[in-house]
């Protein structure tokens, strides 16, 4: 079977102190001294194969490479080494409300942000009723989002994101805001989506949530795959190591 995502020996290295290094002055100085820019390895020869229908969680400390791996899988970041093959229409939800402009109304923002998520205008128009129903923002949809509370903003952004109908969903810790009732509603909606057979990769620091939702868990440590397997086992190994690691 063709994998949904096939990541082979992928490495990603970023420049350290990028703002200082992105100048003509630095370029000329480094050429004179023969030195190269200082690099930071975010992913180091990572190999991951995800089959269609799998729900894979990714866990790791801050800076372990989780978000970078999602960006590589979604085709946003081309790796410096290795190969990535994606066999399905991928929808990365790495942040909610991308493209939202504070001076535009909720309705206008649905079109702009929807276009960025791959929804043509006709599709947004068709789905607008569902977005309004889920977000419960029908009375405010023509108000500038500048006037929204952070919870209202998140509700609209999440409702829009859930209308993308992905074949392969990549989620990066997007449920950070909103009231408790709406959070539960979002989790339920996401669960429905995941259970509908959509291949899903979830990044989260909430280990219990990942263990409950995922069929497989990957632990990333300093840009490498430290463990990959059954969620319970990987979570136990991660807890055991991280519990003993100095912070």
């Amino acid at each position: 079977m063709t994998p949904a995502i096939d990541v082979q020996n992928v490495s990603v290295r970023f420049l350290k102190d990028p703002l200082r290094q992105h100048t003509l002055k630095h370029f000329l100085a480094s050429r004179r001294s023969g030195g190269r820019g200082r690099l930071f390895t975010a992913l180091d020869r990572v190999t991951v194969r995800i089959e269609p229908g799998e729900i894979v969680g990714i866990v790791g400390r801050n800076g372990s490479g989780k978000s970078t791996l999602l960006r590589v899988m979604s085709g946003i970041l081309p790796p410096v080494e290795g190969r990535v093959a994606v066999g399905r229409r991928v929808t990365p939800l790495l942040e909610l409300g991308i493209g939202f402009h504070p001076d535009l109304s909720g309705r206008e923002n649905c079109y702009v942000s929807g276009a960025l998520l791959g929804l043509p205008p006709a599709a947004v128009a068709r789905k607008l009723d569902a977005i309004l129903a889920f977000s419960e923002l029908a009375a405010f949809i023509d108000e500038p989002v500048r006037n929204y509370s952070s919870g209202m903003y998140a509700r609209l952004a999440f409702a829009l994101a859930m209308e993308v109908e992905p074949e392969l969903l990549l989620l990066d810790e997007i449920l950070g805001v909103g009231d408790e009732f709406f959070l539960r509603k979002c989790l339920f909606r996401m669960q429905q989506l995941i259970r509908s057979g959509v291949t899903t990769v979830l990044v989260s620091h909430n280990l219990d949530y990942l263990v409950a939702q995922c069929s497989r868990l990957i632990w990333l440590d300093e840009g490498r795959v430290a463990a990959d397997g059954a969620p319970g086992e990987v979570a136990a190994a991660y807890r055991s190591r991280e519990g003993h690691r100095p912070t």
Binding site: L24, I76, P92, H101, G114, P120
Partner: protein, 257 residues
């Protein structure tokens, strides 16, 4: 990328450009009227100042100046706007899979709309000043050539700026040098006695670019074959340089955003 995603992303470019234009003067006193007032006031001020400096009749000089300055302002706005557009949208490029050249494309569209607004001002001045001459029928082709020059230069600069964030003053100085050494502000006949300067002007491509507008609008004559050749070649070279540099660097650009 599927065709639906491609359609959506192209729509995003169009919608984003629309929003930049709509939101630019929202909430300001006189609102959208500034889209016309701002270039009109700038052009009138420049015409007045340089008519005095060049000791020219304002009524005559204003048409000459507008004919060269309006396409130049388009080039400058497009080039500088496109140059900074990719890092300015790092929020999008780090989180969504969208081709990086869409952001320079948005700035190009915005500059093109501003150009047509300023061109409307020129048309109004012409209606007051002098009758239209037949050679104005070449203006759509002239706009196309200038659009090619602006798009090529802007794309090239947008790639360079990702790697070298300190080039803005250099680019601004370079553009200013090209503007003030070309025949946009002064007429060639004012330096007819200076053979060296005239010879140097023959090597300045901006004079040929400007002639595509100045000759049909101000002089009522057809641009020469040399004007078309130099201008079209400039557009082709800059477009090729922009496209090739983008193609060669776009994977690496993600690491600098």
């Amino acid at each position: 990328m599927t065709s639906a995603t491609g359609t959506a992303h192209r729509y995003f470019v169009w919608l984003y450009a629309q929003n930049v234009l709509r939101l630019r003067y929202r909430g300001a006193w006189l609102g959208a009227a500034w889209s016309i007032l701002q270039p009109a006031l700038y052009l009138v001020l420049m015409a007045f100042v340089f008519a005095v400096v060049n000791r020219a009749s304002l009524r005559d000089y204003v048409v000459y100046l507008f004919a060269g300055l309006i396409p130049w302002r388009f080039l400058e706005q497009a080039a500088l706007g496109m140059m900074e557009s990719v890092p300015a949208h790092g929020m999008y490029t780090r989180k969504v899979r969208v081709p990086l050249f869409y952001f320079p494309a948005v700035q190009f569209l915005v500059a093109l709309v501003d150009f047509f607004v300023a061109f409307g001002i020129l048309v109004a001045v012409l209606a007051w000043q002098q009758p239209w001459a037949l050679p104005v029928i070449v203006l759509p082709a002239a706009v196309l050539v200038w659009a090619g020059i602006a798009a090529g230069l802007g794309l090239l600069l947008s790639v360079l700026f990702v790697f070298f964030r300190d080039i803005r003053p250099l680019v601004q100085m370079g553009l200013m040098f090209l503007l003030f050494t070309s025949t946009i502000y002064f007429k060639p006949e004012t330096i007819a006695a200076d053979a060296t300067r005239l010879r140097l002007l023959a090597w300045d491509p901006v004079c040929y670019w400007a002639a595509l507008f100045q000759k049909p609008i101000y002089a009522g004559t057809w641009p020469l074959a040399a004007d078309w050749t130099v201008s079209a070649a400039s557009a082709a070279v800059l477009l090729a340089a922009g496209a090739l540099s983008y193609r060669a660097a776009h994977n690496r650009m993600h690491y600098y955003l």
